[in-house]
Symmetry: C2
Subunit: 387 residues, 2 copies
């Protein structure tokens, strides 16, 4: 379990799983009406999904306990203590679904967690938090950027978890980003939505979607930067870029740590008529088991890329199609490139990072998706552990 405490409250924004069945903590988070968040509590052994009204009530009890204890802490530590309400507690849950949510156990843990709160933080604190939210992850995932809003320096720290769970196994992705900048909920929301599309929503491990996915951003307002009312304000550009970088970095780490992954795959679809079409093709390739097993086998099997483009349902002009693996031209104008040598491509497939580029030559839009190969290890992790 990991608990974050925002001493002066934090502005925030979240995006959640697109699954039609969501966990109880996501329902709770969506019901929160408070403009400021005081605490984020993350537990990792129970997804609180398919737990019905008991699961939801459990969160309410825990939030009330946390609010009570944190209000006490305010009176102890602050000159002008504030009352903290249960409405200011956000939850991240990941773990087994359908099992009774351990409300009492978590509630009992709250005083201990609060006792451990530190008002100073360093890289070690972030590492501990990143480690604390891991499930089957092999690596903790941290990303940090510094940037400016106007003439003020601000920091962005992010942690994430994801790779799938062995028991009972959904590739829940959690990402939490923190900044000392002063940004409104509206601006945070717009920046997060804008940047999630090309980062956490551009990765695919196995095409499956958890009931618990969640990415949030919190701004503590410690740095008194100039007020930003519009995400097109030039003063926010550097922050926007840094946020994108933190989110992309974290999401790439989730893929790299994908269950059984041995290779990191970048799929660039360029010169498409629309970004939507580029995205559909990119994910048709990224989610194809035949493509992913070929890459696991270090086989430059471009036929499977063609297959995945074809099955995407997007109408393409075959005569304009070009495909590259890394710097190696494979298809040009819809035909095998005349100087293509398979041994060069075979050699390239030995790399740890594989770049597949599909040029449709039909427009000016593009989309990049990230995924990993599909190996026997994936099957092992997902088939063999529980039984």
């Amino acid at each position: 379990m990991v608990m974050f405490y925002f001493r002066d409250g934090a502005n925030y924004a979240s995006v959640y799983t697109q699954s039609k069945i969501v966990s109880e903590n996501i329902k709770w988070n969506l019901n929160i009406k408070s403009k400021k968040i005081s605490s984020l509590i993350i537990n990792t052994r129970n997804a609180n999904a398919f737990t019905g009204s008991d699961g939801y009530k459990g969160l309410k009890e825990i939030a009330e306990e946390a609010a009570l204890q944190l209000t006490k802490k305010q009176t102890e530590d602050e000159d002008f203590p504030k009352k903290i309400s249960s409405n200011q507690v956000l939850f991240g849950c990941t773990g087994t679904i359908g099992e009774k949510y351990p409300t009492e156990k978590i509630k009992k843990n709250i005083p201990e967690l609060i006792k451990k709160i530190k008002y100073t933080q360093n890289k070690f604190t972030w590492m501990k938090a990143a480690l604390g939210i891991m499930t089957t992850d092999l690596q903790p995932k941290i990303s940090m950027e510094e940037c400016k809003i106007g003439n003020k320096n601000v920091k962005i720290y992010g942690i994430a978890k994801g790779s799938g769970m062995i028991f009972p196994n959904m590739a829940t992705t959690l990402g939490y980003v923190f900044t000392d900048a002063d940004l409104s909920n509206d601006i945070l929301n717009k920046l997060l939505k804008k940047n999630i599309n090309t980062t956490f929503n551009a990765i695919s491990c196995d095409g499956d979607t958890s009931t618990n996915d969640m990415v949030s951003i919190f701004s503590t307002g410690k740095v008194k930067n100039s007020i930003i009312n519009n995400i097109n304000d030039k003063k926010i550009f550097s922050f926007d870029k840094a946020l994108h970088s933190v989110l992309l970095n974290l999401s790439k780490r989730v893929v790299k740590d994908g269950e059984g992954a041995t290779k990191f795959i970048t799929i660039n679809i360029v010169k498409s008529k629309s970004e939507k079409e580029a995205r559909v093709i990119a994910f048709s390739i990224a989610n194809s088991n035949l493509v992913k097993t070929a890459i696991a086998g270090e086989d430059p099997n471009w036929g499977r890329i063609i297959m995945a483009i074809g099955k995407s349902g997007v109408k393409i002009d075959l005569k304009k199609l070009a495909i590259n693996f890394g710097g190696i031209k494979i298809i040009e104008k819809g035909q095998i490139f005349k100087y293509y040598k398979e041994n060069e491509a075979t050699n390239y497939m030995k790399s740890q990072s594989i770049d597949i580029s599909v040029d449709l030559n039909m427009g000016s839009k593009s989309f990049t998706a990230y995924t990993m190969d599909l190996t026997k290890k994936y099957i092992e992790i997902n088939a063999d552990y529980r039984s």
Copy 2:
């Protein structure tokens, strides 16, 4: 290579892959304007996909050669010989994509294939045909039914191949059904389209789609049954049912022979608002790697079924949801069934055939999909062979 010869021509209908990139033989078949087919030629080592105009020209040359040789055979064998045109030759191709189509080699083979044509057939002939179209299939796939049209007995024989190919590997499915009934192209087309939806279009091995998929039906008209002008004519009901049975049988065999499959999975979605929604949910489950690895691991992991229902995007009423594994109730009214015992379910998962039933209790429509589990063997077949 396998060659079918219809001595008196055959009426026919075909359905093809929904991929936006199709092989040259499918383009050829779609261009055929002849009302009768004289020959079906199937080759198994070259998909004739991504072979451009050369691949198409190759088919033209082969069709011309076959027409020439078959016309010669007509003059030798028939009292009233007919001239056979290249326009009456249909092609099925499966194998490597992007490699030069071996036109000359196939053309040279034609006289030999024609020499071997027999006018009588028995089960052994069908077995040889089924064996002849296999690629990585472990089992030949044959299905036969007898039925009546009016008071006449007719036969339906079908062969199929499918399971994916190891070099370079697309799960091409070919199905060919033959009947001695006398049915028009229009009726054959309507019957095929009607029955394909719940048979060949209800199976999924790995969610990938080949550029070469093809299912055809041929009727030789040897039996002079009463003329059928409408598929709602009661006289065709028994044939319709038998055709469905042949197609379902063949398509189930394709799944059972799926690459690396150890279990056959039937996914029933019932009481859905529309068949379309039932289909979307069924395939969301059938194509989920997490569901398929759980079943490979004999793990009654109903959480992954929930996940797959959720990610399908279909709006469901969780409070009405029921899930059964075989006869074992797991979820009732959106909650874990109170008498659910995991050890019973674990025991059930040891079966070779796994039935998953999802009851939405929202309408009266249903859809059944068929798939297999995802095993290490699949990865081995698709990752390890070529390199």
